[in-house]
Assembly symmetry: C2
Homo-oligomer: 612 residues x 2
């Protein structure tokens, strides 16, 4: 029978536990102590040692060799890897020369005096060793084994710590109130990405919201003053791969605040909660307008860890090259270039082909390539079209050096900028794969992007405007009068937080006057304001000026730990295709079980519907 020594430790990682210490904790000052360790048999060595593992590390456990302890030897020697045991024993110093400097507990070992086998491990689909490569689907199917790896243990613990520190900052330091908001909510007008949840009332559905946007604003109207929530959010992107249908955002809203206030708060929070082992971060973060970001980097979330800015070379070419001139005659027509350092030297013909193909297939654009060879000559299909003074001017403007590569595109700004912005990132990857250290993987470069346009033309209906972010964002104060005359020119009090070229958060100062909100919804966006009547009513009953932000916790954590995918910082993520491979979800549900919800399945096959 199980009879435990009960260690009434009142705090720390072994409190209230059957163990006295963790497997990562024993040092030479513990020599002579009697200890109880619990953990997994990582491996056996020469029938002499069991290496015992828990979340905190490894301890070498000595298998007694004396005849009198033959039962212990029998039990321990037959352990399969990953079996779970409890070892009672005494800590001793390892014999001279046998210390392991690589192992934090490498000075000691534990001589077994008693052992209890909690569970014998059967055959495993893969070994729990960090160097053993596993396929993604195997990792997902046996996630409970995958999580035993030291990397996944570290990731989940770092995430927990990060969130805890954010909470301390918001709640204890800044007086924020943690408020939980509903996830069973009303469908947002046009909320195509919202999961529906049938209710027991025929034809009526809840919806899983993409963010607590409406609730956080209502909490400000309610006088909560400062709200935060680590909020579960939902987004049904159906076919899009590598998106998680549920994700977490650190959701913040404040009353009586302006843009600077929110930005400073977030800087303070990130500085406070930044993991010590990842260095410190400097505040305030750099700020850049949307206009400058697009002009210099071709994207609204530039990665500033490397240069390679877009350069406007329109003027160099206008006079001489006929086919470029036609591109320039379009509205917003322009010629832009980036200079890839050592690109001429390092990129293969195949690399160049790939870049051209990307331009062609994704942007419908021709890409012109100029190799500035190390002997100082230029190699390009364009070469004969360039007079020598223009060539010189081009090299001068782009500050190209021998060995560099120039990529050029001509066309409307709204095409060539995103194109070169994309190629800039691809070139960085190519350079890095050639061994150039371009982006320091341990560097964290934060950037605020501000002064976004408030409205954008609808893609399929360009004379109609839609919100660049959402309809609740207030206009920049100096642009507010344009709301009633030239709404397309209005910039919003919106701010995006970018880390190493990834958008990790976004927020805005909100409209707090009902009349302005109604104007935006009805006159500019041509939406039915009655769908948001509760919000409009709320704004009319004493709404304070307010604003906030939401940070994507999964993405932020993945960048901090250097993970390739957000799946590496989520305990039980959905697979690439949005499924839970371990439990096989989503799954079928019987017609009987669907009855209370008054729905039935419409099978897509033409032969009628099943289950009727």
């Amino acid at each position: 029978s199980l009879k435990y020594l009960y260690f009434a430790l009142l705090s720390g990682p072994s409190s209230f536990s059957l163990r006295s210490h963790t497997c990562g904790e024993l040092r030479s000052h513990h020599v002579g102590h009697r200890v109880i360790l619990c953990g997994w048999a990582q491996y056996l060595r020469q029938d002499l040692f069991v290496i015992l593992r828990d979340f905190s590390g490894l301890t070498q456990v000595l298998i007694p060799q004396e005849e009198s302890a033959s039962h212990l030897k029998a039990v321990l020697s037959e352990l399969t890897a990953e079996s779970v045991i409890k070892v009672t024993g005494t800590v001793r110093r390892r014999p001279a020369g046998q210390e392991n400097k690589e192992m934090p507990t490498g000075e000691i070992e534990v001589i077994t005096e008693d052992v209890e086998v909690f569970n014998v491990c059967c055959k495993l689909p893969f070994e729990i060793k960090d160097f053993v490569k596993k396929s993604e689907s195997l990792r997902m199917q046996y996630r409970y084994l995958d999580l035993r790896s030291s990397q996944m243990q570290k990731n989940l613990r770092l995430r927990s710590q990060l969130v805890m520190k954010m909470r301390e900052y918001l709640c204890n330091v800044q007086g924020f109130v943690d408020v939980e908001t509903p996830t069973l909510f009303k469908r947002t007008p046009g909320g195509a990405k919202e999961f529906v949840v049938p209710s027991r009332e025929p034809g009526l559905f809840f919806s899983l919201p993409q963010s607590p946007q409406q609730f956080k604003q209502l909490l400000m109207v309610a006088g909560i003053d400062r709200y935060f929530q680590v909020a579960r959010c939902y987004r049904d992107e159906g076919s899009k791969p590598d998106r998680q249908p549920e994700f977490t955002q650190v959701d913040i809203e404040m009353s009586f605040v302006d843009q600077t206030g929110i930005m400073s708060l977030v800087e303070g929070m990130l500085q406070h909660s930044w993991p010590a082992e990842k260095g410190s971060i400097k505040v305030p973060f750099q700020t850049m307008t949307y206009e400058v970001a697009m002009r210099d980097y071709g994207v609204d979330k530039p990665d500033l860890r490397f240069n390679m800015k877009l350069i406007d070379i329109t003027e160099i070419f206008t006079v001489e090259v006929e086919f470029l001139r036609s591109a320039l005659s379009q509205p917003g027509g322009s010629i832009q270039a980036i200079c890839v350092p050592s690109g001429a030297k390092l990129f293969t013909r195949k690399d160049l082909e790939e870049l051209k193909q990307t331009a062609n297939t994704q942007f419908g654009q021709e890409l012109s390539v100029i190799l500035f060879k190390e002997d100082g000559t230029l190699k390009s299909a364009l070469k004969k079209l360039l007079c020598s003074s223009s060539a010189e001017e081009l090299l001068n403007r782009t500050q190209a050096k021998p060995g560099d590569l120039l990529l050029m595109a001509a066309g409307p700004l709204h095409t060539v900028r995103p194109l070169l912005g994309k190629l800039r990132l691809r070139c960085a990857e190519l350079l890095e794969s050639c061994g150039v250290s371009l982006r320091d993987p341990s560097a964290f470069h934060f950037l605020w992007v501000v002064d976004f346009p408030l409205f954008l033309p609808k893609e399929d209906e360009p004379e109609q405007l839609e919100s660049a972010h959402h309809p609740f964002t207030a206009a920049l104060l100096e642009d507010a009068h344009l709301l009633y005359t030239e709404p397309h020119k209005v910039r919003g009090q919106h701010y995006d937080l970018v880390l190493n070229g990834c958008e990790i958060g976004g927020g805005s100062i909100r409209i707090h006057k009902a009349s302005e909100q109604l104007h935006v919804l009805k006159n500019i966006l041509k939406e039915d304001p009655s769908l948001l009547s509760h919000l409009l009513e709320a704004l009319d009953s004493g709404a304070p000026p307010h604003g906030g932000i939401a940070l994507g916790l999964d993405r932020l954590t993945s960048i901090i730990v250097g993970a390739d995918s957000i799946r590496d910082v989520i305990a039980f993520p959905k697979s690439f295709r949005g499924r839970d491979i371990m439990s096989r979800a989503p799954d079928t549900v019987s017609e009987e079980e669907l009855k209370p919800y008054h729905i039935s399945v419409r099978w897509p096959t033409e032969g009628g519907e099943e289950g009727k």
Copy 2:
């Protein structure tokens, strides 16, 4: 235009804000300071004062009466209640005799030097005054106004603090890891109370789980060692009124722990996080077995703040009263009584009728009533059936005093105990409505109830067993051998935490061996084990012994703040009928929007289906 003085406070409730102080903060030592306050005009007094309110309290703002400040006077005097303003001014001591001792800021007032009106409040559906009674549906429809009341502000802030302290204890003191688990999951076998969420794959559904039970156990198999989560959970109870479809539990799981360990941890956590203003709580909490709870209180969650225990009086009657003898001849037949102090004196005939009716309609039982009159005589329909020695014995056993009331019921234990358990609580309410102080509303009595039966007979199929709590609970060590022979006799390592007669949490030590879990699922519960194959596989790949608990945060908070309903500790609860009255959810969704989910509505009317 809005031009703010920006107060770069780096911490506290006014950091990063347009205000310099909150409305509850100014004292006499601030006299002479120039301050900026933001808030709601609670009311105007004699055109002389605006009482300005924010979450922290009230400040009296003086409307200047000088001719030179006539514009300020004009703006302030015309303010509607609940308009939102910013006041810049200087703090001065109130004139002698005008101090308000009831008001924390009552020593001072602020002389207005500048004012900005952020928002004018239109007509309100009700006044924001604590003493104004509002209907429940009006409160729900205008929740953002209801939350402005000082009570709701207090409730939400206390909840936030409570959770923060729990997190500090678990994460910072005890080394727990905060792990988020999925809410889009696979349907639990027989999970009739789980909302379904259609996926974009025809016929496949996610399900919103009632708790993270499977995930928390898998995290233990994964070596996380100590997990917690403040978890959103879902329960679709359809027609049951006053249940929230989404609720929050503090979810905890530990490896290498026994029942005592979990109980001590929870005691430590509650002691650590208990709001200072609610007094302190003593640990360890009292423990009682299920058997004793049922025997003495007729319920598994007894309210121990008052006595009135069930008393077995079977033996007194067996010999003489024929009609009782027939009740006793049933299996488990018994006669039980409770003595209601002063019940004979205080209860009306109507009260007694109500008690009898409850017994009859809810339990199918006759209730016998004996009034022990203050003159020492007994009044009862039973009286003539009682010989004087029996009567004496009855008064002796029940320790009844003149003026007390005895309630008696005869029948099988499994009926009379719950019946008297229920009447005991009802009598407590009746006594309190007569002015007897029985239960101290400021007392918090915690109780652990342990040694529950592991299985119970199914209601509709009594020879078949079902789990008393869930199929993952381990047997008491001393009963484990009975799993294979007499499973109905097995007690489980389950523990419920009861506070003032409400179950606020429950947990167990789990089965950690696959063979035992398989036996329970397959042989005892007759369930299809393949539906839990991932859990069985996990137990077979090195599962540590583990256990945990889940505390109902909504209920716990509501008891602490003394709220009648959990709706008073949830920012945006669903109504009594499970609807969001403010936004009108659930709501209709067009057939077009349902198409990607391959479902259609089955309208319950017979005339065919709509929307095809």
